[in-house]
């Protein structure tokens, strides 16, 4: 159609529908708060707090006049023979139980979200739930009866106890993946396995990691009870403090556990931030 002069009010089309501004412009605009979020300054503040707590503990520990104290107290507070080995043992219990949780719960979660097993999912979750519903003490005793004394019994008991958060988060993370994304992948000829490993799991990583972080913290906390069945750990020192009515021993043991837990929570937070796939 040749147009001599244009009487029609043709809608002027916008050049291209808006694109969200890049991250570069966000900083300048919103100032400190944006800077805080962008560099996750909160994430880097935590180690400072933990170091401060460790410093306070160190000063307190040095100020204790162990020479004047009774034999029992000084013995319980010896770094080389008591506190350090207990810390290592504590971490070992927490580490192995968390590893077992991940190795069992993530594949189980994957399996229970597959169409073939979807129906049994609720039952398994109920069993995992019962692990957490039982008192931790009772669970330890139960495993003591099954596996006998020692750290490995504690590891298995804790693993059972912390199964639920990882299992549930794996299932929720996978269920929350946009159906359209899966449909598109399948529609282009990706096999089920490829969709799982290339699409679903990467997209569920943030949620699964959050579950693992919870399990890890649970395990570090619960490992203080391992001494009950001869598993060792920092619970030994705390228990000594209680039994001997020595506040200084109690405080040193308790704060050490707190430092370990806070440190690993922070490690978990860092992992969540940097292992999350880009683009989300």
């Amino acid at each position: 159609m040749s147009v001599a002069s244009e009487p029609r009010t043709a809608p002027t089309v916008p050049e291209e529908d808006g694109v969200p501004p890049g991250p570069a412009t966000a900083v300048a605009g919103e100032g400190l708060l944006a800077l805080w979020r962008r560099w996750s300054l909160g994430l880097w503040l935590a180690p400072v707090g933990i170091a401060a707590l460790a410093g306070v503990l160190f000063v307190y520990y040095r100020s204790l006049k162990t020479e004047d104290a009774g034999f029992q107290q000084s013995s319980a507070l010896q770094w080389g023979t008591k506190l350090w080995p207990q810390t290592v043992q504590h971490l070992q219990i927490a580490f192995w139980s968390t590893l077992i949780v991940v190795v069992i719960a993530v594949p189980l979660g994957v399996l229970l979200t597959r169409p073939a097993f979807r129906q049994v999912g609720p039952y398994i979750v109920t069993v995992a739930n019962s692990g957490q519903a039982l008192p931790a003490y009772g669970l330890l005793v139960l495993f003591l009866g099954l596996l006998g004394q020692g750290a490995s019994t504690a590891i298995w008991a804790l693993a059972f106890y912390a199964l639920l958060p990882v299992l549930r988060n794996t299932m929720v993370g996978l269920d929350n993946v946009d159906r359209a994304v899966i449909e598109a992948g399948r529609g282009m000829g990706m096999t089920r396995w490829r969709v799982l490993t290339r699409i679903e799991l990467p997209l569920a990583v943030p949620v699964i990691l959050a579950g693992i972080r919870v399990a890890m913290i649970l395990n570090i906390g619960m490992a203080t009870l391992a001494f009950l069945i001869g598993g060792g750990g920092l619970g030994v020192t705390i228990n000594s403090g209680l039994k001997l009515q020595q506040d200084s021993v109690l405080i040193v043991g308790g704060v050490l556990v707190a430092i370990v837990a806070l440190t690993f929570d922070w490690v978990g937070a860092v992992a969540e931030r940097y292992l999350r796939p880009r683009g989300l």
Partner: protein, 386 residues
């Protein structure tokens, strides 16, 4: 059964487990190479299900599916789907992959080498109107809806499939962007000549995009399958008539061109003639409006007798200026629009040089509509007779 169908559905059926009524009931349909076949129908009629039967996202419970004459009803569905482009309304870009990685999905599965994949991604981005340097390494969340669906189309074209399935691809996009994407897609298709099955619930989109349209009723029964022109001119039953809705005649005008009309002469004079000649010419005809042409026979103004009486002879002030001139390849819909805007109710058609070729009157449109209807009816009568 002709064998040149690119896609053939032969009595394809889908009955869901535990349901006594089939979702798709014995559907037979041929899609020819290089055409866009639109499946359109009310919601719940099974058009999406039908589309997904073709790439076996839904496994048929009966019948056969042929691609290029090859029975693909039982081949490995994953391999089958890598030969077929697939675009869905929700787009479904992989949010954790860059645009280039998204587009590379199928080529990667087909084990193309890296350089070829990268070159293909750039080529496709350019094809869908996105600058590769700017968009290649972006993530989907940085795209608007329209841009995301461009990438969706590019991804479906990744390994250059001969067949594309599109499930309401532009359904979730704002109207202005949608129209632009439709136009660009049609331009692209004119170049690529893919065989496309396109699902929509919007009859206007179907008319615009389809070389042929299959109007589906309940359980995916084909009520009418034909070119948009014929469907608009001759809806076979009340269901189809209801579905295409009001204004089908006017929509049909989109498919006829001004050049197809037989236009008769219209009274006119040139600017060199005095108004009195004009009055004479006008009285000799049965028309109300006289056309004033310039020296090269280009239409300038419309004038009635009283305009001529008032005119000083320069023909610059009275009457109505001719603002729009149609060419022979403009549609009758354009012609109608211009006629409704002009007080003369007429519209000038010019040749390449701009000289008057004829004047479109309302009766021309009426005749054209009549003719299309008669032709379509005769076509269906012939079909029935054979």
């Amino acid at each position: 059964m002709s064998s040149d169908a690119k896609i053939r559905l032969d009595n394809v059926e889908k009955t869901y487990h535990g349901s006594s009524v089939s979702a798709v009931d014995k559907l037979s349909l041929d899609v020819y190479e290089g055409e866009i076949l639109v499946l359109v129908g009310p919601s719940g009629c099974g058009k999406s299900t039908t589309l997904r039967l073709i790439n076996r996202m839904i496994e048929p419970t009966g019948g056969r599916i042929f691609l290029d004459g090859e029975d693909v009803t039982t081949v490995d569905p994953d391999r089958l789907r890598r030969r077929i482009g697939y675009v869905i309304q929700q787009i479904g870009l992989f949010p954790h992959q860059t645009i280039a990685q998204n587009i590379a999905t199928v080529p990667k599965m087909l084990k193309w080498d890296k350089n070829r994949i990268a070159a293909r991604a750039d080529e496709l981005l350019t094809m869908v109107g996105l600058d590769p340097d700017q968009y290649r390494d972006r993530y989907p969340k940085e795209l608007s809806g329209g841009q995301a669906q461009r990438v969706g189309v590019a991804r479906a074209l990744g390994a250059d499939p001969e067949i594309m399935l599109m499930d309401e691809p532009f359904g979730a996009i704002d109207p202005i962007t949608r129209e632009r994407l439709q136009n660009e897609f049609l331009r692209l298709q004119a170049e690529l000549r893919k065989t496309i099955v396109f699902v929509t619930h919007d009859i206007d989109e179907a008319i615009k995009m389809g070389d042929r349209i299959a109007i589906l009723g309940e359980r995916s029964q084909i009520r009418q399958c034909d070119t948009p022109e014929r469907i608009l001119a001759f809806p076979v039953d009340e269901f189809v008539d209801d579905f295409i809705g009001a204004g089908s005649t006017i929509k049909g005008l989109n498919f006829e061109q001004v050049g197809g009309l037989r236009l008769n002469g219209h009274p006119h004079i040139t600017v060199d003639d005095p108004p009195s000649t004009g009055i004479k010419v006008l009285r000799a005809s049965d028309q109300e409006w006289l056309l004033i042409l310039d020296d090269e026979r280009r239409p300038l103004r419309w004038m009635r007798e009283r305009d001529l009486n008032r005119s000083s002879g320069s023909y610059l002030d009275e009457g109505e200026e001719v603002r729009i001139r149609l060419h022979s390849d403009d549609t009758l819909f354009h012609a109608l629009e211009q006629m409704l805007q002009s007080s003369s109710g007429l519209c000038c058609v010019v040749d390449e040089k701009g000289a008057l070729a004829g004047v479109v009157e309302m009766t021309h449109l009426r005749k054209a509509i009549r003719r299309a209807q008669v032709e379509a009816r005769r076509h269906y009568e012939d079909l029935e007779a054979n």
